[in-house]
């Protein structure tokens, strides 16, 4: 950690996953600092599991946090988080930034499944997630944003999610909500007064042969095939629990068939 000062915390976590040559996955790089600690947990089969553990509360206003995950050919990595992330107000005028960069090589597989991000009243956070995949890479990415704790007004939250597949940007979406966001964010075109919004991105080379078909899911959710072997599930729900239920159901729909 570069230190805590009036400019807020700067912290980075990095993980690199490689095939270990015996059918498993090793993690030659696994490091985090400050509020971002990474722990390797028991994996399953050929997959390595890593948990992002919040060692401090945050992000607070002024903080600059970043997570980098790099999955090499043949490696399989699953990253979760120990708890929901709370965006909190800080001492600083400047908002917080959280920057996630995921790269997956052909034949590699990454599951990025953090717990919810909760935008607490008075907070200001800009979160950017950028996934860059080579041809033949696999990805399951889930992100969920909850606007305020129970019964609370949200803070200011801006998210941007970009997915590049073999050099082509197939998804680029930004969402701005909370006080000070451009008008209409809570209205019937954008979130309609609902308080939880989530995205699930699934990239599987098999979708080239068997393309995903667009479909409406129950509630305010839909499966949307993207250009390339990829699909987005967009869901808006009254609360985090119902949102998770929709995304879990969608995830099962898009998962490989079990033998």
């Amino acid at each position: 950690m570069d230190g805590v000062n009036t400019a807020g915390v700067r912290a980075a976590a990095r993980v690199r996953a490689c095939a270990d040559g015996r059918g498993g996955t090793c993690l030659p790089v696994l490091e985090g600092d400050g509020p971002l600690a990474l722990r390797r947990t028991r994996g399953s089969g050929t997959e390595a599991h890593v948990l992002l553990v919040g060692a401090m509360s945050g992000p607070l206003g002024g903080d600059r946090l970043s997570v980098r995950a790099d999955v090499r050919p043949g490696a399989r990595l699953r990253i979760g988080s120990a708890a929901a992330t709370l965006a909190l107000p800080g001492q600083h005028e400047a908002g917080a930034r959280y920057d996630v960069r995921l790269t997956v090589a052909g034949g590699g597989e990454l599951h990025w499944l953090p717990e919810q991000l909760i935008s607490v009243r008075g907070s200001e956070l800009q979160i950017t997630t950028h996934a860059d995949l080579d041809h033949g890479a696999r990805l399951v990415l889930r992100e969920e944003q909850v606007l305020g704790r129970a019964g609370e007004e949200p803070g200011r939250l801006t998210t941007r999610l970009t997915v590049r597949l073999a050099g082509r940007t197939v998804l680029d979406q930004q969402l701005a909500c909370g006080p000070g966001a451009p008008g209409g964010w809570d209205g019937p075109a954008v979130l309609g007064g609902l308080r939880a919004v989530g995205q699930l991105v699934v990239v599987r080379p098999e979708f080239e042969e068997k393309p995903v078909t667009a479909r409406e899911l129950g509630g305010d959710a839909a499966v949307l095939p993207l250009p390339g072997p990829a699909a987005l599930v967009t869901a808006v729900a009254p609360d985090a629990l119902r949102l998770r239920r929709i995304l879990d159901g969608a995830s099962a729909l898009l998962a490989p068939a079990r033998d």
Partner: protein
Amino acid sequence: MSRGALLVLADGRFPAGGHAHSGGAEAAVGAGRVTGAASLEDFCRGRLHTTGLVAAAVAAAAALGVDPGELDAAADARTPSPALRTAARRLGRQLLRAARVAWPSGELDALAGRFPKGAHQPVVLGVTARAAGLGPADAAYCAAYESVSGPASATVRLLGLDPFDATGVLARLAPEVDAVVSRAVGAARGAVGEGVDALPAASAPLLEVGAEAHAGWAVRLFAT
């Protein structure tokens, strides 16, 4: 710029097929989310600052001469709903047909050759603006205004809303249309040097979800 040409292009009666689309208003009315002038205004405001901003920036960038292929791919990435991507291409094709007659130009011919299935409508709009001697702000105004005027006039038919009330909504949104155009043109100028990633990507989850639901309706008044 020619103010006369701008009026021709921005006219709701310009034969480019826009009247067949509600811009998501039919789905929102069906879901009970738009019920009158106040909720229509909220709907239009949200659409203006999301898909309206993106369309305006793409149109402005095309008017500035940014490569239409890159802009079309950028519009794809910003339109995750396949129903909306198909509609945007159909509208692009219809606009291109009308534009090639109205303002014959080599650039419009080239666009038709490059995108036989149609390019995203804002891309065509921007290239049309160039052909008509208009600038990036003009193209952005057409796109931004269209993002709210479509739903407003559709809601008059869908809900039997008083046309005076619908026009009042548009008049109240006019200052925000100005602000969106200015953001869009700024971003488009950025895209000239930095590439299309500099374009805004504001999204509206309920518009995307609603578009897929709406595409499955057996009976509907509007195409989207």
